[in-house]
């Protein structure tokens, strides 16, 4: 039998052009943005305002969530409408640390966070013991969303809950968590959450330099997660995920146990959201239970759909487009923002099933012909 057949080469993580773009993005985040913000004088045309730094930093956190959503929804076909919970859990873990960093500088000059003094608590609740240490906090940021996702995912996937049922349960999960965090006795600051942060690892939090460090860290994290996600989807693991999305029964009868695959990508995705939340809180300066509201989780899915599912770069673009439009519209025409969001979602679903990235690819292909 002739086997002169050449088999296709292994899919690459990034093409040459992709790597170039990646390096450019890296330089923009690590060098250009800091220079434009801190070195270029304020009057200059090229100055990057503190407002812009805060906005882009925030959107990069959202982009990490959209990336995480793409792995679980775009590639594995599991629509989660509860990713806001993981984002908020990471944020709360960081928030607790920042609350402890306030020390005695709060309004009541007490060792305890202000809201505990207000509630007349005499000592720190047990779940706050780790929050004095930064290292332990870093561990919590990964572990808490990871463990919650693992336990939830294990039972959901083992019971073979799929499709819209899974989406509804995730939505219920984040809503239930929101109600729990709203309560004062759970020790998470009730509906006010945590705010008035002063320091992070002993350094004042609101200075331009600290903000820029957080901005660069967020950018590096986004780029790092992007590379990691590219590596995942270029491996056979990524193709098994897509196979689960397209024909789960064939995956099972090919000898794969889908539970392990679904659970692993679900937990990875949740941890990514948790890290995004932890980077978000010190930049925005507040975390409260409204981050867990069902609408927030739905928004993550919208960014992903607008940018283009199963493309990784698409959701990042989508997060920037939608949130950019949001910050512009909520200032210029606040009453129209929600209509705009709704219309955008409908238009994308109807006319751009592959999102903005899909449209660009289509146009490029058309141009080549």
């Amino acid at each position: 039998m002739s086997t002169t057949l050449t088999l296709p080469s292994k899919p690459v993580m990034l093409t040459r052009a992709g790597w170039s773009a990646f390096v450019v993005a890296l330089l923009v985040v690590c060098a250009l943005a800091p220079v434009l913000n801190l070195v270029v004088p304020e009057g200059s045309l090229f100055h990057m305002s503190d407002y812009a730094v805060a906005l882009v930093g925030k959107i990069m956190c959202y982009a990490i969530c959209a990336l995480a959503m793409d792995l679980i929804w775009g590639y594995t076909g599991i629509l989660s409408l509860g990713h806001g919970l993981f984002f908020a859990l990471g944020g709360y873990a960081m928030g607790m640390y920042l609350m402890r960093q306030i020390g005695r500088d709060g309004n009541y000059k007490s060792d305890l966070p202000d809201f505990m003094v207000f509630l007349d608590w005499k000592e720190l609740p047990w779940h706050w013991v780790f929050s004095d240490s930064f290292i332990a906090t870093l561990f919590l940021i990964v572990a808490v969303p990871g463990i919650v996702a693992f336990v939830f995912g294990y039972f959901a996937f083992r019971s073979r809950i799929k499709g819209v049922y899974f989406s509804i349960i995730t939505q219920a999960m984040t809503f239930a968590a929101m109600l729990l965090f709203f309560r004062n006795e759970t020790g998470f600051g009730g509906n006010n959450g945590f705010t008035d942060f002063k320091r992070i690892i002993g350094i004042a939090i609101a200075t331009p330099n600290t903000r820029m460090v957080l901005f660069v860290l967020t950018g590096l994290m986004l780029l790092g997660f992007f590379l990691f996600a590219r590596w995942l989807v270029a491996s056979k693991y990524g193709r098994v995920l897509q196979a689960i999305r397209d024909a789960e029964s064939r995956v099972m009868f090919s000898g794969y146990n889908p539970i392990g695959y679904k659970l692993s990508i679900w937990v990875i995705s949740a941890i990514m959201c948790g890290v995004a939340g932890a980077l978000y809180v010190p930049q925005v300066g507040i975390i409260n239970p409204s981050e867990m509201s069902p609408a927030n989780s739905i928004e993550i899915a919208i960014w992903t759909a607008v940018g283009g599912r199963a493309s990784l770069i698409g959701p990042i673009v989508g997060a920037f487009i939608v949130n950019g439009a949001k910050s512009w519209l909520t200032v210029t025409a606040p009453e129209y923002w929600l209509y705009f969001l709704g219309a955008l979602f409908i238009l994308v679903t109807l006319f751009l099933p592959n999102g903005v990235v899909g449209l660009v690819r289509k146009l490029r292909k058309g141009g080549e012909k």
Binding site: M1, S2, T3, L5, L7, P8, K10, L232, S235, K236, Y237, R239, V240, Q242, A243, R245, D246, A247, S249, R250, V251, M252, F253, S254, G255, Y256, N257, P258, G260, Y261, S264
Partner: protein, 292 residues
């Protein structure tokens, strides 16, 4: 007892021990049987001449008995055809064998030692039972190559997949199967863009990549052209012997080409069994097919 006899006896014992060492005792003797390894756990034991064994299997859905005291067995290397009217329980039987459906009662054994009812779908597939669905089921968003690569017999855990690299032996095997299923010039095509018949072939190819001991094929030639059907028949006849096959099909001319023994299922149990001519001459078979 005389010293002669003692010496004679000692000589004989020694001679026998020598023979046993060389494995040359006439009947195999006690030594041969004594330490012969029984099939290790998890390995299919076909020494009793059966690779698949169903006994008194019953399952009902909402009171409807889809399978009713079904008993059936298949020999290693056999190609068994299953026919029967719609609703006879053919697909349900495959669901039971592959772990998709749990029977209410009965036993299902793979070889003499493996109780299939104790395992899940993925484990059963790993043991060496491959299944082709009635409706061709391939990964439409992946290429033909990627479809086959996923089906390849290898470690199928999460970490193993993350760090998987195709080695040259596996690449050769993939190329060989691509030729066997006549898709060598469609390697990089999306499986979703293949014709119906080609999808059927791809799914059969994916089964072959798993290198299963037993193949369950649910209507493998549905939607194929006459030429494709003839090629499929050829393929199945070459597979026979090394693999055991169970083929459910409605196409009688296809069955005539490939069949040795045909089993007729009706109302969830075996109605008749024999060569195609025998079962076609059977009064009861004619009755269920032509109606009463």
């Amino acid at each position: 007892m005389t010293p002669d006899l003692l010496e004679e006896g000692a000589r004989r014992i020694q001679a026998h021990a020598g023979k046993v060492e060389q494995g040359k005792t006439e009947s195999g003797g006690r030594a041969a049987g004594f330490s012969r390894p029984a099939a290790a756990p998890g390995v299919v034991d076909t020494t009793h001449g059966r690779i698949l064994y169903l006994e008194d299997v019953s399952v009902s859905f909402d009171g409807f008995k889809a399978i009713n005291k079904l008993s059936l067995d298949i020999a290693p290397g056999e190609l068994r055809c299953i026919i029967g009217p719609n609703g006879a329980g053919k697909t349900t039987m495959m669901d039971i064998i592959t772990g998709k459906t749990r029977p209410d009662e009965g036993t299902v054994f793979f070889g003499s030692t493996i109780d299939l009812l104790r395992y899940k779908e993925a484990e059963i597939a790993q043991m060496g039972i491959g299944r082709k669905f009635q409706k061709p089921t391939v990964f439409e968003q992946l290429t033909v190559f990627e479809n086959l690569e996923l089906a390849l017999k290898t470690h199928k855990g999460v970490a193993a997949s993350m760090f998987f690299r195709l080695d040259s032996a596996q690449g050769d095997r993939l190329a060989e199967i691509l030729h066997t299923i006549h898709l060598a010039d469609s390697v990089t095509r999306m499986a979703g863009n293949l014709s119906h018949g080609q999808k059927q072939w791809l799914e059969i190819g994916m089964l072959l990549m798993q290198d299963p001991k037993l193949l369950l094929l649910d209507e493998p030639v549905a939607g194929m052209t006459d030429e494709e059907t003839a090629r499929t028949a050829e393929l199945f006849l070459t597979l026979k012997g090394q693999h055991s096959l169970m083929v459910v099909e409605h196409d009688m001319s296809f069955i005539r080409t490939i069949s040795e023994i045909v089993t007729v299922l009706c109302d969830g149990s075996v109605l008749a069994q024999g060569t195609l001519d025998q079962v076609q001459a059977d009064e009861r078979v004619i009755e269920v097919y032509l109606g009463r």
